[in-house]
């Protein structure tokens, strides 16, 4: 059921935006092109970040170090039925956006996008943001020196997000 809803969400958003834009007399096509140019810039500016991180993670995987790490923690995690491949992603998600995106990419590539780990990695990557980045950008920009509970709250929320992703993926995709 939920998988079907997934298929409907994007086409429905597109339909709503196009019809509403036309109704509001927005020059739709020209506006689309203008916004699309920003997409090109964004993807291109992402390239060096992704490339550097993906190479580094691929070295880590190809050397066998990643498997060694996963095997090390597997006995503990299998008690809770958690796939240990996901741990590197869960750990880096709050710390670095590009690192976690690269790890998620690596998981989707090696485990397959439609495997349980692939679906879990996709959900985890999409459902929370990089706490450390958000904190540095927003507090840095306005010169807040004392963060109070912000870091604690952010990291705990990430933890909730990770558990939620696991739970939701088991419910929807099963395994």
């Amino acid at each position: 059921m939920l998988v079907h809803i997934s298929n409907w969400i994007i086409p429905l958003i597109i339909l709503t935006v196009l019809l509403y834009g036309t109704f509001k007399k927005v020059p739709t096509y020209e506006t689309f092109v203008e916004g699309g140019k920003e997409g090109v810039k964004m993807a291109v500016s992402l390239l060096p970040f992704l490339l550097g991180m993906i190479v580094s993670i691929s070295i880590f995987r190809a050397s066998g170090a990643l498997d060694a790490f996963v095997n090390l923690i597997d006995p503990v995690l299998s008690i809770f039925n958690i796939p240990s491949e996901i741990v590197p992603l869960a750990v880096t998600r709050p710390i670095s956006g590009t690192a976690s995106l690269s790890i998620a990419t690596d998981l989707i590539k090696t485990e397959g996008p439609d495997s349980f780990v692939g679906q879990l990695a996709s959900t985890m990557q999409g459902s929370t943001d990089t706490t450390l980045y958000v904190l540095t950008v927003y507090f840095g920009a306005v010169g807040i020196k004392k963060m109070g509970n912000a870091l604690k709250v952010g990291l705990l929320a990430d933890f909730v997000g990770i558990i939620a992703s696991l739970f939701v993926c088991y419910l929807i995709f099963g395994s």
Binding site: G39, L47, L50, R61, K152, C169
Partner: protein, 196 residues
Amino acid sequence: MVNIIWVALAAIGIIYAFFNGTIEEVNEVIFSSAQDAVALTISLVSVLVFWLGLMRIAEKAGLLDKLAYVFRPIFTRLFPEIPANHPAMGYILSNFSANLFGLGNAATPLGIKAMHEMKKLNNDSIEASRSMITFLALNTSSVTLVPTTIIAIRMQYDSMAPTEIVSSTIIATFISTIGAILIDRYFHYQRQRRLI
């Protein structure tokens, strides 16, 4: 932090390869993975251009403002310290709507403006106010309707259903956002009790 992660992954990998006898594999992957990254970026272009183009229409048509209007009653409760028609509230709402549509680039400047306004409300103190912490908690749990980047990556690796993770992502986001709000509230009241 990202520097340490980046170097550690590569350095540990190369040193481990020495002992594990996998230096050949490592050597090969350095170049093939760089190529992978380029191919991935190209597939990202397709989705980002389409989505950002579409969202520009939504922005121009005023859909984002409409959305902000819908969420206003919830947000005035979430931020009791901010007067309902203060500019800070407006920026917080537009930041939220931009995030909802996956417009990270548009959301960041709005978020910074919201922070500026909240700092003014807090007598320009260098300490984080209660509203700021709530705002950050909301932002780190990131409410996104369509995880565009992930969909592009799934397409790149031949997923049979690249968008099937949309519903799981929305539900997980929803739970983590509720979690973030509850955790934020818990710490706030705990701190208040200590002050009394």
